[in-house]
């Protein structure tokens, strides 16, 4: 039974930050990430009839984006002509060390930390999707983009007191949500 609806006019406001963070850690280039998100939105529009409503809109968009990212790497590899893997299995007296030298780095602490931080970032954005959208937007501007209080107040036509009440509500809701889904 279909439980989710689709509304492309809200995609950018609702999901662009989530899609962006999902993509940037995978392609590590802002311009490429933006292109892939554009392609995802357009592909989503073209295949809207295929949306059955079994998964959420965001999950559906992420599945399209995943394919776009894979296509991006396929194109990159086909341009290079061959995969750049150079493992020397036989190297005289260092014979047998290749596993440690070539493989260990892929699973080092930094990579694990990066993965965990990415998951944490997605969990935070997940939680922000569940709170009042205006509060989430103001919270992101203040906390993630570091925009000045004065600038936000002007843009949303609110007083600094209003802003701090909104920030407080967003922080409390976010902490409660993370406590349930992350800690």
């Amino acid at each position: 039974m279909s439980t989710h609806t689709i509304d492309p006019t809200k995609w950018v406001d609702k999901y662009s930050d989530y899609l962006f963070n999902y993509t940037i850690v995978r392609v590590n280039d802002r311009e490429i990430a933006n292109d892939l998100i554009s392609e995802t939105f357009l592909a989503g529009l073209k295949s809207m009839e295929n949306f059955k409503g079994e998964a959420s809109e965001r999950t559906w968009l992420i599945s399209i984006l995943k394919r776009k990212i894979i296509d991006h790497y396929r194109k990159m590899n086909s341009k290079k002509g061959q995969a750049e893997v150079h493992i020397n299995y036989r190297d005289g007296e260092n014979d047998g060390d290749w596993l440690e030298e070539q493989v260990a780095d892929q699973f080092d602490k930094t990579a694990e930390d990066d993965m965990e931080n990415t998951e944490l970032g997605m969990a935070i954005l997940d939680c922000l999707e569940k709170i009042n959208s205006k509060h989430a937007e103001i919270f992101k501007m203040k906390t993630i983009d570091g925009v000045d209080t004065e600038v936000i107040c002007k843009e949303f036509d609110i007083t600094p007191s209003n802003l701090w009440v909104i920030i407080h509500r967003a922080r409390t809701a976010l902490a409660a949500c993370l406590e349930q889904n992350w800690f």
């Binding site: 950018v12 203040k142 209080t149 993370l178």
Partner: protein
Amino acid sequence: MQEEKKYIDCDKAECCCDKGQYKEADKIEKLQLLEHLAECPRCREYSEKNTRLTELIEKAKLKCCSEDEKECWRNAIEEELKKSHSE
């Protein structure tokens, strides 16, 4: 000169604590918060959670899209929807 109210209530303490997370609490607010925290276990817990939340947000290294980028996507979607409606 009006003397600053020394003891603040929990709402004000939480507000000072939030401002502190963004380094926007002034000296008086910081002092008032410290005084309040010394006597209020509930707000101490809030303050600890709030600091932990800030650490987590920093650790996540989140990025947001710029308003220009968003506007560009909005326009592209709008145009595509217009096209599909007129077909």
